[in-house]
Symmetry: C3
Subunit: 224 residues, 3 copies
Amino acid sequence: MTELENQLLKFENLNNIRVLIIKSSSNTFSSGHDLLEFDKSNSSDHKKVFDKASNLMKIIENYFIPVIVSIQGTAAAAGCQLVASCDIAICGQSSLFSTPGILAGLFCSTPGVAVGRVLPRKIALEMLYTGEPISAETALKYGLVNHVVEDSKIDETSEKIANKIASLSSSTMKLGKKCFIEQMKLEKEKAYELASNVMVENLQFTDCKEGIKAFLEKRKPRWN
Amino acid sequence: MTELENQLLKFENLNNIRVLIIKSSSNTFSSGHDLLEFDKSNSSDHKKVFDKASNLMKIIENYFIPVIVSIQGTAAAAGCQLVASCDIAICGQSSLFSTPGILAGLFCSTPGVAVGRVLPRKIALEMLYTGEPISAETALKYGLVNHVVEDSKIDETSEKIANKIASLSSSTMKLGKKCFIEQMKLEKEKAYELASNVMVENLQFTDCKEGIKAFLEKRKPRWN
Amino acid sequence: MTELENQLLKFENLNNIRVLIIKSSSNTFSSGHDLLEFDKSNSSDHKKVFDKASNLMKIIENYFIPVIVSIQGTAAAAGCQLVASCDIAICGQSSLFSTPGILAGLFCSTPGVAVGRVLPRKIALEMLYTGEPISAETALKYGLVNHVVEDSKIDETSEKIANKIASLSSSTMKLGKKCFIEQMKLEKEKAYELASNVMVENLQFTDCKEGIKAFLEKRKPRWN
């Protein structure tokens, strides 16, 4: 978790990064916190772990570029929370998503913050109450993931989407993502005010002027 | 856009209007703003265009009667925003929904306000980040549209629903729609307070007294 | 309604209750308020009925243990509101869900509070405007119910889920449910603060210590 956070903070200072893919190096995307760690530490340590995880989710959600998550196998507990917190999610047909803390007597309350805001309330509650996983197909049905593909095609699909995003105007993408996050926190009327102003600002971008010119001239734009 | 707004404001003063269908006269529902217009105008003009569009969406959302949108072909950018802002949407199997501004370097920030409040967050973000359309089936899966029918049956289906709505008590419909919009902005407890009071008010309507009587007498009601 | 409320309040004082199933004794889950009652009473009586129903929904939503609803046949009006207000819902293939008040000139404004917060906006509005039911499959698609099973298997399925929940740590379940409800009312950052604190508290529970120990020792936990 510390490593992921450090990487994220480091990338944020690099101007030429256009899109991020988070994936695991193993066959299981993430099984969440290590319970052994909880068993051996005290309340003050516990607090630090949960605050660190919440902070990581906040960094990911507000990240300056689009964040794609590529899910091999199971995403459980904080792993499921991470999936819920990313912008776009691709998983394999065998992927499972769960918040199984209750099975060990530790209700997945922090994962519930993210999962409860992405899935319909009843689907989230059944996961939290029973600890049982939902399938990739169910995750797709309710928008926890964007695409379910053959397990062998996960990386290929994520990279295809990442390449598409990276091929577009980076300055526009950053402005647009920031605006989307900000406006979603506002009531609709204020949201429109903010978004209208951002569009006016966007129209002044060199990339936007080039993009519109290219569209009218029916040619490919050359981004800055 | 000005024409649609003027029509809407005119209809609002006509008492005998019971339901509205918005549809296009061409094979494409709407491809959004004209980029040529942006290319030739300045920031102050741009601001007016976006404020006008936001105002139009506000008028539609708060309209005094139900608003059905009937979608032939593609609904892109502000066209997709319009679909998201109506009450009920019917489209054809070949319909596509997109927020493609990013392809021209102009992120669809204002459409994102409406689309981000109707679709699951990840589905909305993929549309906004890649500019790629979702299909009619995907729009149905996530509730952006109510029904997908054969392209040749769009008008027929929209009119069937419109006729059903028009056959019911107009005074009750207006009261009910207004209450739904208002209560959805409130936290749940306040929402129930408001809605309870509206139901008590509704029970005093001549149409409601007739409707309940007709139900108990197992006959068709005669609306005012 | 009074009977259900009294039962709920009575159970709340019993410490050994772990999960609740609400079901009907007939083939129709609930057709809502009795219109004859409205016809024969005055505004002050009406107000009492709607306030009582809203209060019942509030009790169910904030109930101290998980609430499963088992739906035989149709759930209409306040019955549909009840389904929307429970934690987990199981229905049969022939089940229908509707808010048909408009057909009798009485818009389902209070059911709209619950239904509008569970279903996508357009799906809720079509139900409210036309009075027409949605099928079990549509309810499942949009998360109004968790599972659709053969009509003869409804009780069996509900009990299976109830047994699973009852087999887990009761103290953890109550803490977790309470936290989920509370945090969902907060903005995300505050929600994480609350949930982090609850997880730290949860780790001090005897059941949680036993649960983690059992997990690490690869044996079944023995709950308090």
